[in-house]
């Protein structure tokens, strides 16, 4: 027989598939897209007891083989062997939640009836036991006619047994499977109920932690303040907790610049390395701690099950602007980065809803804005406290986040009544049980996201920084002339400055926002590079960016710059993702125009108001 090559994890959403995937493959994972559709393909490498390698794919969670979304369509096509270029999995690992058998066995029957080698992972048996439910895997195995292995993916319990069963699976004889699978949905439901009943050894429904937690977290008066307090803590933490790590990274980069300067002779190459590469990329990499903290909170919310409660709480408010609670998760993810946020809109079934969410996602304050906000806030907002534990800097940052949210909601309201007009959409969402976010899965998720950020810093930002350095450094200035004025970039910025000066932007800003099209955080490195190049002597170069800003900018200019970044769609990757997710250039171009328009108007309003107030 042919060798076992691929296996697929398949099951309902919230069955713990991803945790099982992590437990089986470790960090050996590859995340990509299925060709032609906007559905994520997660693949990893695992080994059978015989040592044979197997490619394991984690299929999108589905409720049935009769698809109700593009995700479910991919799952159906892959397991039935209809997906072009994707081999039929040699073994199916059907993942069911032990505490929700009655529901999950409905889909499991459909999968088992396909007649492929199949192993059922009776997952999260510990959670079922916590809920007072003890199950008999053997009884379930007898009923389903396929091996059933009890697992606790987050504790790696039962993983060896599961891998062993996968190894034996190709010897299965599908004809030994009992005629358990119902032909119609009501039949399968009835069979699932009976099988679930038959597998329960003891049941005691007194301990239902999630019901108690929901009583508090979904309480009409307690729920929203808890959610908003959590969001506030996240933003304070992003700003405060990251500081020591960011300072350490910053110190490391400064030391590295010193080493390079000491080791190399004067010249263009040394300037390129210190002023271009190290200053530019370094000023972005120092924000990695903040990004990791933000992602950690978002991952913890997702994996604990709280994110669905947040969506539940927010649904009504989202309904006011024509969206649903489902949009809350993509929009919240956009706080980290609009790219995964826009990709997460795939779970929104209604096309108009989804389009609106994509168009407003870039307004949520992504982590790439943090470097920009952080530098400006550090330079212009005093580090005083306005109340116990509430710093003014953190408060301003929170205000900028709120401005992004209000902007997004206002934009959604307008879009839903104009370009994305359509009937009110619904909101149907399973609320998973609570669980402690497993550290291992958190670590893998964080690592993947941090890596994406560093890769960006290493490529797009690196290239943009170097390009800017070249534009700034050539042609060389005549004696007595400023280097910035003489450079190519200086001339381009002169042109932009005509348009941008009414809203209080100086030449350096006009210059910095050109390369910031590559990614917003480049604005910081661009400013750093600009000011570093402008400094005529070593001493001035050594001076940090913040004092330079304080000396060169007025407060209204700084505030206008912040307002600009609330709206400006300065991220080529976001535009590219929007193009892919909307299948064309129409909507990304629309996005660019409306966001730049808003950025200009609001930066202007901020500048003129601040000047009028005498700030």
């Amino acid at each position: 027989m042919s060798r076992l090559r691929t296996a697929a994890l398949v099951g309902n959403p919230n069955a713990g598939k991803s945790a099982l995937f992590n437990a089986l493959t470790g960090a050996r994972q590859k995340i990509a897209n299925y060709p032609g559709v906007t559905v994520e393909r997660k693949a990893g490498r695992m080994f059978l007891p015989s040592g044979e390698p197997v490619e394991l794919i984690d299929l999108p969670g589905s409720y049935s083989l009769d698809p109700a979304s593009p995700d479910e369509e991919v799952t159906r096509q892959v397991v039935q062997g209809d997906f072009p270029g994707e081999p039929v999995p040699d073994v199916l690992i059907v993942v069911v939640d032990a505490a929700n058998l009655e529901q999950h066995l409905v889909f499991a029957q459909e999968l088992i009836a396909l007649g492929r080698p199949t192993v059922v992972a009776l997952n999260m048996v510990d959670m079922a036991e916590r809920d007072g439910l003890v199950l008999d895997a053997d009884a379930l195995s007898a009923a389903l006619g396929v091996p059933v292995i009890s697992t606790v993916a987050v504790r790696k319990r039962g993983i060896d047994a599961l891998v062993e069963a996968m190894g034996d699976a190709e010897n299965q004889d599908p004809s030994t499977r009992h005629e358990v699978a119902g032909q119609t949905l009501p039949e399968r439901r009835l069979a699932a109920r009976n099988m679930a009943k038959g597998a329960i050894l003891t049941e005691d429904s007194k301990h239902r932690l999630h019901a108690k937690l929901d009583k508090v977290l979904l309480h009409p008066w307690l729920g929203p303040p808890i959610l908003f307090a959590l969001l506030f803590v996240i933003f304070q933490a992003v700003f405060a907790w990251a500081t020591p790590f960011a300072d350490a990274l910053d110190g490391g980069i400064t030391a590295l610049i010193g080493v390079v300067e000491g080791a190399m002779p004067d010249g263009v190459v040394r300037d390129f390395l210190t002023e271009g590469v190290l200053t530019g990329v370094g000023s972005v990499v120092v924000f990695l701690p903040q990004i990791i903290i933000l992602f950690a909170f978002i991952l913890a919310m997702e994996q604990s099950g709280y994110m669905a409660r947040a969506a539940f709480i927010m649904d009504r408010l989202m309904a006011y602007v024509g969206l649903s609670g489902r949009s809350f998760i993509p929009l919240l993810s956009s706080f980290a980065c609009a790219i995964p946020g826009i990709m997460a809109t795939r779970s929104i079934a209604d096309p108009k809803d989804r389009l609106t969410t994509i168009l407003v996602a870039p307004l949520m304050t992504c982590s790439a804005r943090l470097p920009v906000y952080a530098v400006i806030i550090a330079a212009f907002i005093p580090a005083t406290t306005v109340g116990p534990g509430i710093g003014l800097q953190g408060l301003v940052l929170f205000g900028l986040y709120v401005a992004g949210i209000v902007g997004a909601m206002a934009a959604a309201l307008v879009l839903r009544r104009t370009v994305a007009k359509g009937g009110a959409s619904g909101f149907i969402m399973e609320m998973p049980r609570y669980q402690m976010p497993p550290l291992r899965d958190m670590a893998i998720g964080l690592w993947q996201r941090a890596w994406v950020f560093l890769r960006r810093a290493g490529t797009i930002i690196f290239i943009a920084t170097i390009a800017l350095w070249v534009l700034l450094s050539f042609p060389k200035a005549e004696p007595g002339e400023s280097q910035v004025d003489a450079s190519i970039a200086g001339h381009v910025a002169d042109g932009m400055h005509v348009i941008l000066s009414p809203i209080g932007f100086n030449r350096e800003i006009s210059l910095a926002i050109i390369p910031a099209m590559a990614a917003r955080e480049v604005a910081v490195s661009a400013l750093a590079t600009t000011y570093a190049v402008e400094g005529a002597d070593e001493e001035e170069e050594a001076e940090g960016l913040i004092p330079r800003l304080q000396a060169g900018w007025t407060l209204p200019t700084a505030l206008a710059f912040l307002a600009w970044f609330v709206f400006a769609p300065q991220c080529i990757s976001t535009i590219a993702v929007a193009k892919r997710e909307t299948n064309g250039w129409k909507w990304p171009v629309f996005m660019l125009v409306y966001l730049f328009g808003a950025a200009y108007v609001f930066a202007g309003l901020t500048y003129w108001s601040a000047v009028a107030l005498g700030l």
Binding site: N100, F312, A319, E430
Partner: protein, 83 residues
Amino acid sequence: MENDLTLDLLAPLERAEITHVDWSVLAPDEGKRLRAMGIDEGARVAIAHRGIFIGRDPIAIMVGRMNVAIRRVHARAMQVKRV
């Protein structure tokens, strides 16, 4: 009278059985999704939570061991009888 009882009108944790669903209120994929989740004629349900803001919308309904959030407008399309 009992015929007029719809899911949205139940008191929290009051057990009921869905007797009829007006599927025309739901988009086709939404109906499919609800049926796949076991929310269909004959299902035993109860309201676990009501929403927080005005209109107490959405509603979290218990079906089996699962909680599912749906909008009130959909709950209104489901006739139930108390059990």
